[in-house]
Structure formats: structure tokens, C-alpha cells
């Protein structure tokens, strides 16, 4: 029995002990890092299994909520927790062989902070705590993006930093607005007293949250930093930004809108259209993009738009589809960025022309990349297909025909540029076989395996998705868990 709070505390603590470990033995750093992430993964698995039987409430300082900060892990939290730690664990394995700029221990320190922050964001039940974790995640992410300390890295980092800090300031303003009227910071407590809020405050708070968290959740027009930061950052950092960080931001946004503020029609519609515009704009931007990494960055933005769009539909079925899509996005983007990282080692620059024939040179990596991309654009019997089809089914259920058409259009655009990329990867014949080390392929292989497994048995995920979606829809249930009799 591992308390989920340890998954936040231990990485935080170890992160600050990193210089100490580094002084002890420079080689030990990455193993310590791996061990911590492995522990987190373990904690996530244990928590996930426990959540199956009921939500977990963790109380700090021995005081019952709403008077103290508490963690609450429902089905949604459990799912994301497992996903985040699992992916982070795979990244950690991938990092074992990666070339990282010195000082290495600081990189791992930032990485640990980032993981801890993201974990905290999805586990916490307190709005201000959420802000704190948001900032921890953010600051470590700025640092990670700029870590390469070359021109591109610094540029991406500083852009991210400025937008990110404005965003989190706005978020804080939103928190302040809520607190001024409700007088509490516990999410469940606020949710229970949302009737106390005057309508203007509610809307103003929503605006602040949307804009503030939209920066992390990559919503247009707050997402302009994304391509720059993704392109500038270290490959694995890009992967974690695209998979874990964006989902954490998204989680915060969704949690705030659905649980805390109550899902008003106006809010959902705004989410829906914001998501749709994000999707279309990002896909269009990716269409003529020559740099593959940047292209995938745009695609990542687009996928986030799609997920937000699905959340904006607000029906139980749509929420399941959205979560499924989010899961798939994590899996696919993990595959894409990691395999791109492997490819990047063999060639100079990630321009499309430079990557000609790379699939012949690195057949396994090329195949994995292709599967990731195909899953993303919905080839049947890959998990991406099922999420997309269920998303579209829920769109049709709500008779949203215009958005449906636009989503399909975006899918076609996406298919075009991904297939073009895959095609270029396999163009040409005179390339030598020089596959990379197995240990670097392993994480990608695992992700692809999950994609394939879910492609053939998407049903295994269904109950968890359903539980998570129910958690979002059923506000009183959530309030009841925290305020009511749920034993810590």
C-alpha cells in the first residue's frame, strides 16, 4: 500500500537531492532518476488498482477537508496518473542512453520536478494547490525547454516562460475571484457552494481559467508558444511536454470547468468552438510545414483541439471519447517524438528532406513511427481509430453536423501530411541498415504495443473511461466523496 502523495513528495525531495547524488557519483544520477520514476509508476499502478474499487481521499495535516489540502483520486485521476507515470517511466528508460547536455543532474532534477508537478496537478483537490503545482510544472518545463542553451532552446524557453507566467497569473486571478465569493479553496467545497457565486463572477472566473489554463492546454490563441518550444526543446522534453504536460493542463481546465464551475452550456460551447478552431488552424499550419518536429508539434496542438472539442460536447459518451482520444494522443505522440529523436541522431536537422530514406536505414524505428502516425490518423485496428470513431459517433449523437464535417476535413489534412512524411521516410533504396540500440527502442516498442493492443481490444479501456467520464459529469458525487463520509 503506497500513498499516492508519495508520488509527489518523493520526486520533489529527490529532485533537490540531485546535486548531492551527482557529487557522490555522476553516473548514479540517471539510475536514481529511473528508480524514482519507477517508484512513481509503481505507486500509480497500485493507486489505479485501488481506485477500481472506489475513490481515494488523502488528507494532509490530519484535518478533514475542506479545511485542509487534500488529494482526491477518482477514476479520472487514477487513469491519468497511471498514464503519466507510465509514459514518464518509458521516457526515463529512453533517457538512459540519450545525449544530455551537462550538467546532467540538473536536467534530471528539472525532469523530476516536472513529473512531480504534473502528478500533483492531477491528484490535488485544492484549487490553490493546483496553482502551485501548475507553477512547479511550468517552471521546470521552462527550464527543460531552455536546457539545451542554444539559440532555439533559449528562444522557445523564453517564449514559453512569458506566456506561461502570464497564463498562471491569470489563473491565480481566477482563483482569487472564486475565493472572494466562496471563501474556500477546496474544489469540492467550491463546487458545493457554486450557487453562492454571482453570475458575473462565475463567468469572469471561467474566462480567467480558460485563458490561464489554455496556455498549458494548448488552446488557440494561447498556444502560440507550442511549436516554438517544441521545436527548440530536447527531444524527450518535447515528448513529455506534448504528452504529459499538455494533458495536465487539459485536466486542470476540464476539472475546473466540469467539477468546480459546473458545466454551463455557454462554457461548453466555447470549449467546443475553441477546440475546433485550434484543431483546424493547427492542421492547416502543419500542412506546409517542412520541419518534421514542428509539424508534429502542430499536429499535437491539433489533437489537443480535438480533445477539447470533444469535451465541449459534454455528453457522457463524448467525454469518454475525449478521454480515449487524449490517451491515444499520449501514446501516439510519445511514439512519434521518441522515434523522431532516434532518427534525429542519424541525420542533421529534422527537415523533411534530410529524413529521406530514414525508414530504410532504421527499419524498426520507421515502422514504429508509421504505426504511431497511422494510429493518430485513424487507421482501423489501431487504437486511434476507435477513439476517433467514438468521438465522431458522439458528435453525430448531438447532431453537430458542421463541426463533424470540419473534424473530418482536419483529419484529411492530417492524413495528408503524415502520409507524406511516411512516404519520404521510405523513399530511396541505397541506405544502410543501422538500427539504434534496443534499449532506446524499448519504450517506443512498448507504446506501439499498447496502441496495437488497444486497437484490437479497445474494450479493455471502456470501463475506466466510463468511470472517468462519470466522475466529470456527476458533480454531486465528487462533492460527496470529499465533503461526505469518504474515509481517508
Amino acid at each position: 500500500m503506497v500513498s499516492p502523495i508519495l508520488a509527489i513528495v518523493i520526486p520533489l525531495a529527490i529532485a533537490f537531492l540531485m546535486p548531492f547524488f551527482s557529487a557522490l557519483s555522476r553516473k548514479s544520477v540517471k539510475w536514481v532518476f529511473l528508480a524514482v520514476i519507477a517508484f512513481n509508476f509503481y505507486a500509480a499502478i497500485m493507486t489505479f488498482l485501488r481506485v477500481l474499487s472506489g475513490p481515494i481521499l488523502v488528507v494532509t495535516a490530519g484535518i478533514k477537508p475542506p479545511f485542509a489540502i487534500n488529494l482526491l483520486i477518482g477514476p479520472l485521476g487514477g487513469l491519468l496518473f497511471l498514464l503519466f507515470e507510465g509514459v514518464a517511466f518509458l521516457y526515463a528508460i529512453f533517457l538512459l542512453k540519450a545525449e544530455i547536455k551537462e550538467p546532467v543532474h540538473r536536467f534530471f532534477m528539472l525532469f523530476l520536478l516536472n513529473v512531480a508537478g504534473a502528478t500533483g496537478m492531477i491528484l490535488t483537490g485544492d484549487l490553490f494547490n493546483l496553482f502551485v503545482f501548475l507553477e512547479i510544472t511550468g517552471i521546470s518545463a521552462y527550464g527543460l525547454v531552455g536546457f539545451k542553451r542554444d539559440k532555439k532552446g533559449l528562444e522557445g524557453g523564453v517564449k514559453y516562460l512569458i506566456l506561461g507566467s502570464v497564463g498562471s497569473t491569470l489563473f491565480l486571478l481566477g482563483v482569487a475571484l472564486l475565493y472572494s465569493q466562496v471563501g474556500t479553496l477546496n474544489m469540492a467545497d467550491i463546487a458545493g457552494r457554486i450557487w453562492m457565486l454571482k453570475k458575473p463572477t462565475l463567468y469572469a472566473a471561467f474566462i480567467m481559467f480558460l485563458v490561464g489554463l489554455g496556455v498549458e492546454a494548448e488552446l488557440f490563441p494561447m498556444n502560440a508558444w507550442v511549436p516554438d518550444a517544441y521545436e527548440g526543446a530536447h527531444d524527450t522534453v518535447t515528448a513529455i511536454l506534448s504528452t504529459v504536460l499538455s494533458k495536465a493542463g487539459l485536466y486542470a481546465l476540464i476539472r475546473v470547468v466540469f467539477t468546480v464551475l459546473s458545466p454551463q452550456k455557454a462554457f461548453l460551447d466555447l470549449l467546443l468552438w475553441a477546440g475546433l478552431i485550434t484543431l483546424l488552424l493547427a492542421e492547416l499550419s502543419a500542412l506546409r510545414q517542412k520541419n518534421v518536429k514542428r509539424m508534429i508539434a502542430y499536429s499535437s496542438v491539433g489533437q489537443m483541439g480535438l480533445v477539447v472539442f470533444a469535451f465541449g460536447m459534454g455528453s457522457l459518451f463524448a467525454l469518454q471519447a475525449a478521454l480515449f482520444q487524449a490517451v491515444n494522443h499520449v501514446l501516439s505522440k510519445g511514439v512519434l517524438f521518441l522515434s523522431l529523436a532516434i532518427m534525429g541522431k542519424k541525420r542533421e536537422g529534422l527537415e523533411l528532406e534530410n529524413l529521406r530514406g530514414i525508414g530504410r536505414e532504421l527499419p524498426v524505428t520507421g515502422l514504429l513511427f508509421s504505426i504511431g502516425a497511422l494510429s493518430l490518423l485513424g487507421l482501423p485496428f489501431l487504437s486511434g481509430f476507435w477513439s476517433k470513431i467514438s468521438l465522431l459517433l458522439s458528435t453525430a449523437d448531438l447532431k453537430l453536423w458542421v463541426p463533424l464535417g470540419l473534424v473530418l476535413l482536419a483529419s484529411i489534412i492530417e492524413a495528408f501530411y503524415y502520409l507524406r512524411t511516411i512516404g519520404v521516410f521510405y523513399t530511396g533504396t541505397d541506405f544502410r541498415f543501422r538500427e539504434t540500440a534496443f534499449i532506446r527502442l524499448l519504450p517506443v516498442l512498448v507504446l506501439v504495443f499498447v496502441i496495437l493492443y488497444l486497437g484490437f481490444r479497445p474494450g479493455v479501456l471502456a470501463p475506466y473511461l466510463k468511470g472517468a467520464a462519470k466522475e466529470l459529469v456527476d458533480r454531486s458525487g465528487y462533492i460527496g466523496w470529499v465533503i461526505g463520509g469518504l474515509k481517508p
Binding site: 490553490f128 532555439k152 516562460l161 512569458i162 475565493y179
Partner: protein, 114 residues
């Protein structure tokens, strides 16, 4: 609450000024200052939420109704710490950027676009 309106107004104004600086100045250092101002504004806003006319420090030995709300103060303490961290990181970036680009003009940082 109404008596606090002047605090609210001024704190929001401060945040707006900070944002304006971040928008209009080209120098990275100035932008960081702007961001700091903005944060300070929001912090002030938080403080003023908890403010009660004539209230005293929230110490346990006085009746609770006399004291100002302690929570925002705790929040602001945290927020300030975070703000410091952000500012420190931002300044590090500024130093590095000056090393690489030889300028702090933010409009020169357009290596990556479109």
C-alpha cells in the same frame, strides 16, 4: 466588501500596467519587470480580498471576527515565492540570451516561426 473597491481597482490597474509593459517594451528585462508587476498586482488583489476594515493580524488570541482573513495572506506568501522563482529563471534566460544573441531585444528572437 464595497469599501475594498479602491484596493481592487488599484491592484487590477497594477496588473494591467504590468501587462502593458510586457506588451510594449522590447527589452527582455523590462518585460520581466512587467510580468513581476502583474504578479504583484494579482497578489495585492488577493490580499485585498481578505482585508477587513479595522481588522488585525490573524493571531489565535483575538476573536476571529476581528481578524482579517488569514488564507489569502498564506496564499500570497506562496505566490511570492513562486514569483521569485519565475523571475529568477527568467533572468537566467535573459543572461543566456544576451550571451547567445548579443542583445536583449525580444523582437530579435524570431529564429523559429510559422
Amino acid at each position: 466588501m464595497a469599501e475594498n473597491i479602491i484596493f481592487y481597482g488599484s491592484s487590477i490597474a497594477l496588473a494591467a500596467i504590468g501587462l502593458l509593459i510586457a506588451l510594449t517594451r522590447r527589452n527582455l528585462i523590462k518585460i520581466i519587470i512587467g510580468l513581476d508587476l502583474m504578479e504583484t498586482g494579482v497578489n495585492m488583489f488577493l490580499i485585498s480580498i481578505g482585508y477587513r476594515r479595522g481588522g488585525t493580524a490573524p493571531i489565535f488570541d483575538i476573536p476571529l471576527s476581528k481578524a482579517v482573513d488569514p488564507v489569502p495572506q498564506a496564499l500570497v506568501l506562496t505566490a511570492i515565492v513562486i514569483g521569485v522563482a519565475v523571475t529568477a529563471l527568467a533572468l537566467t534566460f535573459a543572461v543566456r540570451i544576451h550571451e547567445k544573441y548579443g542583445t536583449l531585444d525580444i523582437s530579435k528572437l524570431r529564429e523559429m516561426k510559422w
